[in-house]
């Protein structure tokens, strides 16, 4: 029961209308979110959460919602895993294809449908956390404007062996989409979800304001991968929020290869003792791409573990901004938290900005962060050249190895291979320009 888009006006001009068949609580939240969007000032230079950002990228006035187009072609192009447990394809937020082999105990529905059939369950988890890394205005716009998304709920003691694969396409010039993925795992359950974001055409500007909520229930395991491979004239705001409860484990990996400008905000809230959150990212910006990454490891509970590893390989005139914070609440003793950002500088015109941070309000903690920026050493190149590998390939091999190091943390060959496919596509794209 996908929502029908009737109001195709400019993104910022008209309050979105919630379809009448959706529950009242959701309509109320959408209206409140629209008011919040209007009332929240736009970020400006000098805002600490937007330090080093290109604020000019936030002019979204030319973007509009659009109905799905070119559906059959995009379904055919939605290649991913060999045998996913479920595969859903969205074009401009409209669900156009579903196939599912999920076991009993798993709800995997378009959000618009889940809001009707599992209203209480969605309400209990939908956008529960405060957006605090700078994009509160755009999270409000997302909440007010979203028309669909995916809801996944895994019951207690249910394990999904395969992967739920979701494709999000932007089709048409100046189209905006609001992808939303809400994943909730019950006690002692397990699931893995992959979101793949792409553009139908290489030259049409688009905008995605995406949001994903991950909620890992007690003793459960939740793995999430987002592959952002939009065309290089698309802008993206992607907000990832994760909550882990007692003895739960959540791993999220974000790959950035596309978009002209991408802002990623990842917040991980460790709510229960023994819980663990691994926040991973690989970004390969080239040309004039800019990736702006903000992270927050929030230790609410004592005795939790978080580890963040972000790696960026920067080519050409590209820019990255990494701002991360480990925040330990009062009373969150025995916290174990790490944060690492590594930048591999591949051109003499790229720019890497790092702002790793710590705010510690409890004792008996082990927290550290590290950030490095450097280039490939001449010795490494020499070593590979001495084995007959040309310098260009040698550099690419090293950059690939640099990225693979992060993927291995997923401990899943199938997903690693999928992500590597997109990485290799990006390297091939970069190499074609060099050639």
């Amino acid at each position: 029961m996908p929502a029908v888009l009737e109001n195709i006006s400019s993104l910022l001009e008209t309050a979105p209308a919630t379809p009448a068949y959706l529950p009242a609580w959701f309509a109320t939240r959408q209206q409140a979110a629209w008011q919040r969007f209007l009332a929240t000032p736009a970020p400006k230079r000098g805002d600490e959460t937007w330090r080093f950002s290109s604020i000019k990228q936030l002019d979204f006035s030319s973007f509009r919602k659009a109905p799905a187009a070119g559906v059959n072609d995009l379904i055919a192009r939605s290649t991913g895993l060999e045998a996913p447990a479920a595969k859903l394809i969205f074009v401009n937020d409209e669900l156009v294809h579903v196939e599912s082999h999920l076991p009993e105990g798993v709800i995997c529905l378009p959000l618009a449908e889940a809001l009707v059939s599992h209203s209480d369950l969605v309400q209990a988890h939908f956008m529960k956390q405060e957006t605090r890394l700078g994009s509160a205005k755009f999270a409000a716009l997302h909440e007010a404007s979203l028309t669909n998304g995916l809801f996944v709920h895994v019951s207690d003691k249910t394990e999904v062996e395969g992967t739920i694969e979701i494709h999000h396409w932007i089709a048409g010039e100046n189209t905006v989409i609001f992808p939303h993925t809400l994943v909730v795992t019950g006690k002692s359950s397990k699931v893995r979800v992959v979101d793949i974001f792409r553009s139908a055409e290489d030259i049409q500007p688009g905008l995605a304001i995406a949001f994903n909520d991950l909620c890992a229930g007690q003793n459960s395991k939740l793995d999430y991968v987002a592959i952002q491979a939009f065309n290089e004239v698309t802008r993206v705001i992607q907000i990832n929020e994760t909550a882990t409860f007692r003895d739960a484990s959540a791993t999220s990996l974000l790959l950035n290869t596309g978009a002209s400008w991408a802002r990623n905000e990842s917040l991980s809230r460790l709510e229960g003792p023994g819980s663990r959150s691994d926040m991973l990212s690989v970004s390969i910006p080239a040309h004039e791409q800019e990736y702006d990454q903000r992270t927050f490891q929030h230790h609410v509970s004592e005795g939790a573990y978080s580890d963040l590893l972000y790696k960026n390989s920067l080519y050409d005139e590209s820019r990255t901004i990494f701002s991360g914070l480990i925040f330990v609440d009062e009373g969150a003793h025995h916290t174990d938290a790490y944060q690492t950002c590594r930048n591999l500088l591949m051109s003499d015109t790229c720019e890497a900005n790092s702002m790793p941070g710590l705010e510690i309000n409890a004792d008996q903690v082990k927290c550290s962060h590290g950030s490095t920026s450097s280039q490939i050493s001449d010795e490494e190149i020499f070593y590979l050249r001495a084995r007959g590998i040309p310098p260009v390939n040698a550099r690419q091999l090293i950059a690939r190895g640099f990225s693979v190091d992060v993927l291995e943390r997923l401990k899943n060959d199938e997903i690693e291979e999928l992500v590597l496919r997109f990485i290799d596509e990006k390297f091939a794209h970069i190499a074609s320009f060099v050639a």
Partner: protein
């Protein structure tokens, strides 16, 4: 486990760290001939300029700076809101007895002399210093440098004398390393500055002994705004040390200095600070050095006192192969926020910078590291290493780290590492098994944590520093 117990240290430990807690906490009646009154207006600027008989360019410089100060907002978008508690209308911006700095302690007024005697300055001068300046509220009371150094061309005077008597050396660098509009407090200092040191070391001269300045606040509701400019000519070397104290008043006191260092080709400047302001002082200081080709500027910084310190010593490495370094220790006790860090601006090829910062948070104290490293485009071979470690002693103490590193281009290397930890139960247990009390064990662990940095301080300072840290730890550990 936490160490919020009220147990006191055993007798042996107390003996080992016995130090007069009230060393700096005394005051003499005010004996000011010149008092600019409370609040800051254009009239205050004119009063200061009149009293100091400023040349026109200085008066104009002050007025422009006042405008900048008024226009700039408080930096509370990123810094602590405690800054908003400074009442600029209540502060007294200039207090002086109208006397010129004396060249002999015999000529210094008795109460001022006693102040510095109690702080041990004349003894230190005799023992190991090449020259001393002692500032009392707004102006230097004593300023002297060894005669043979004067003969060799060393200038060590207060900034008022510097700008009047050595304008040709002073003026080209004054306000150039730290422009007036750098931040709200550098603008404030530029408007009302008085006191501070001007030092010039001629070409090739390497000072064997350090120069020292001591800053003392005596009066309540006072703002001290010293301005220091140090120029080491080509190949020259010096170490400069400053110490600061103030008595504890009921009301807040403001200390807002600007320190500019210029190390010309091949010169080396080492600037050592041991700050032990009383816990009512807002210590908002801007310090920056300019290092030309093959030059080195090194800040060694220890912050123990004050209510709020905001201080990020910086180095602009303007010449090839220049080097900048900041070594810092901060100790934040209850009621204190040590917001310190470093700023490294690489502006030439093959420049290197190093930052090592350690902080200890005790009681409900908060320590913050805030850093900036900037390597722009079209440079090559620049390197930065930053390490900052924080130690938390109590369950209510707090620490934060906020570095910002910008690297452009692919011919550089930067690395930043930070860690937060506490003294482990195992370590304490191990030491207690060998007969140490818990308090002694904690003191030993803290001293071990900072030991490698304390070694960077001159001997006389490092001993004092360890004792001050032990003193601050007293009663905070079980």
């Amino acid at each position: 486990m936490s160490y919020d117990t009220t147990d006191v240290l055993d007798h042996e430990t107390r003996e080992a760290i016995d130090i007069d807690r009230t060393k700096g906490d005394f005051t003499f009646p005010e004996r000011n001939k010149f008092d600019a009154g409370r609040g800051l207006t254009a009239a205050t600027i004119d009063y200061i300029s009149d009293v100091k008989n400023d040349p026109d360019w200085v008066r104009e410089f002050r007025h422009k700076a006042l405008k900048t100060f008024e226009e700039k907002p408080m930096p509370t978008n990123w810094a602590t809101k405690d800054l908003e508690n400074i009442n600029f209308d209540e502060i007294r911006y200039y207090l002086s007895d109208g006397e010129k700095p004396k060249r002999s302690w015999d000529d210094v007024p008795a109460d001022v002399l006693e102040t510095f005697e109690r702080l041990g300055i004349p003894q230190q001068e005799r023992a190991f210093l090449a020259g001393v300046e002692a500032q009392f509220d707004s102006e230097a009371a004593y300023s002297n440098v060894k005669e043979e150094l004067t003969k060799q061309g060393v200038i060590f005077v207060n900034s008022t004398e510097g700008l009047k008597e050595h304008e040709e050396i002073f003026r080209p660098y004054f306000g150039k390393v730290i422009p007036t509009g750098d931040n709200k407090f550098s603008a404030l200092n530029s408007a009302v500055f008085s006191g501070g040191s001007f030092i010039y070391i001629p070409k090739g001269l390497k000072l064997k002994q350090p120069l020292q300045a001591y800053f003392r606040i005596n009066s309540e509701n006072f703002g001290q705004f010293e301005r220091t400019l140090i120029i080491a000519d080509e190949g020259a070397e010096l170490m400069y040390m400053e110490g600061c104290t103030a008595p504890k008043f009921e009301t807040a006191t403001l200390h807002s200095a600007v320190v500019e260092l210029v190390a010309l080709k091949g010169a080396k400047i080492q600037y050592v600070t041991v700050q032990n302001w009383s816990s009512n002082v807002f210590n908002l200081v801007t310090k920056r050095g300019l290092a030309m080709e093959d030059a080195e500027v090194r800040w060694i910084d220890c912050n123990i006192g004050s209510r709020l310190t905001m201080k990020y010593p910086g180095v602009i490495m303007k010449g090839k192969r220049a080097r900048g370094e900041v070594i810092s220790i901060a100790l934040a006790n209850t009621g204190q926020h040590q917001d310190t860090g470093a700023k490294m601006i690489h502006a030439a090829d093959d420049t290197t910078s190093n930052v090592v910062s350690k902080s200890i948070s005790v009681g409900e104290g908060r320590s913050t590291y805030r850093g900036q490293v900037h390597i722009p485009k079209h440079l090559k071979g620049c390197k930065n290493n930053t390490e900052c470690d924080a130690l938390l002693i109590n369950s209510n103490s707090r620490t934060d780290t906020y570095p910002a590193i910008t690297v452009k281009g692919n011919r550089h290397a930067t690395q930043h590492e930070a860690s937060v930890s506490q003294v482990s139960d195992d370590m304490l247990f191990y030491m207690q098994q060998r007969g140490l009390s818990e308090g002694q064990a904690m003191s030993l662990a803290v001293n071990g944590f900072i030991n490698d940095l304390v070694r960077e301080f001159p001997m006389e300072y490092s001993v004092e520093l360890k004792r001050l840290i032990d003193l601050e730890m007293e009663g905070s550990v079980g």
